[in-house]
């Protein structure tokens, strides 16, 4: 699309400059790339993991949202989907996997158990994964339907879209100590 006014600032794409060049903000570009290639770390701990698998497979197909690449190595993952009951025995292992994930990273608490302990109000169950790691999106349900997980993923995409990804780059360097 060629902007009618050459002095206008709102033109985005000028085919006269080059066929495949788009002007945008750096933040918007980075966020667009991040939100459309969210590689999940499937932390499947209970029955929610079954719904997570259903969401990944062909009927619901989260590859439509760029999130089909389940990485069982935390070092290649962007979003940890905690799907299931977090027992105290498992809790520190979940935390350890989370710590191994590189920034930027996000967390989805999938289902009642991961969000709050769910129906397991007992000595064995951590009362919500947010007691250990920061959670971006909570999904209700026991277990949630695949549609709910997709909705949660889209909510996370909206959230990433509003992030200031270049904030760290803009920060002034520390003054040198004399």
């Amino acid at each position: 699309m060629v902007s009618p006014d050459p002095n206008s600032t709102n033109f985005a794409y000028d085919s006269k400059i080059e066929g495949n060049v788009t002007f945008t903000q750096l933040d918007a570009a980075i966020n667009w790339m991040r939100k459309n290639s969210l590689w999940p770390m499937p932390m499947g701990l209970a029955c929610c993991a079954i719904e997570l698998m259903a969401t990944a497979s062909s009927r619901y197909d989260i590859s439509r949202f760029g999130a089909e690449v389940m990485r069982f190595s935390p070092r290649q993952a962007d979003v940890m989907i905690v799907a299931g009951t977090v027992t105290y025995k498992m809790a520190l292992a979940v935390k350890r996997v989370w710590d191994q994930m590189p920034e930027p990273k996000w967390c989805i608490a999938m289902g009642a158990c991961a969000s709050s302990g769910g129906m397991y109000r007992s000595y064995a169950t951590l009362q919500g994964i947010d007691k250990l790691i920061p959670v971006d999106v909570y999904i209700s349900g026991c277990p949630p339907r695949p549609e709910a997980l997709i909705e949660g993923l889209m909510k996370l995409q909206d959230k990433i879209d509003k992030e200031e990804s270049t904030m760290d780059l803009k920060r002034m360097p520390e003054p040198e100590q004399v």
């Binding site: 105290y88 520190l92 109000r121 007992s122 064995a124 169950t125 009362q127």
Partner: protein, 187 residues
Amino acid sequence: MSQFVAKLESAFGEKILGKKEFRGEHTVLVELSALHDVMVHCKEQLGFDFLVDICSVDHESVHPRFEMVYELASVDDSQHLRVKAPVAEDEDVQSVVDIWKTADWHEREVYDMMGIKFTDHPNLKRILMWEGYPYHPLRKEFPLAGKPTEMPDVAFTGVAPMEGGPFVTSSTATDTVAREPRAKGES
């Protein structure tokens, strides 16, 4: 009366403390000191080749406090027998791993959850909770919400908010809404 109960009574006499039949299921109560011999007899003489389950009961205020429960079955002719033995708080139970190998994990669970120790067990350590966890959670005095513990780099536990719980369901309620588990006194 079950032929097995009769055979056990004739073989062990005084050691059999009681017997019970309920809807075709036979239970014998035996003295703890004779438990292992009874189990050997059940397998070798009576043909109970399958140990279905081991569990334990905490009667709290009763003495002896605990009770071991063994569910025996024979595969070929579908026979069933339940053997119980009272266990005092300071008593150990003779392991039956040498008779049925499957008893290994069952006895570890009883040890983990109830704190009953087994002699001659090949690997008596906790199976569900971690080594170093200080409590036995299925004992009656242990609160459902749990107690706080801390083992750095291994595990920790906290206290679950009960919010008026524990939550119980009413089995006599007519519809599913009324059957929803809820705290006592809460409608």
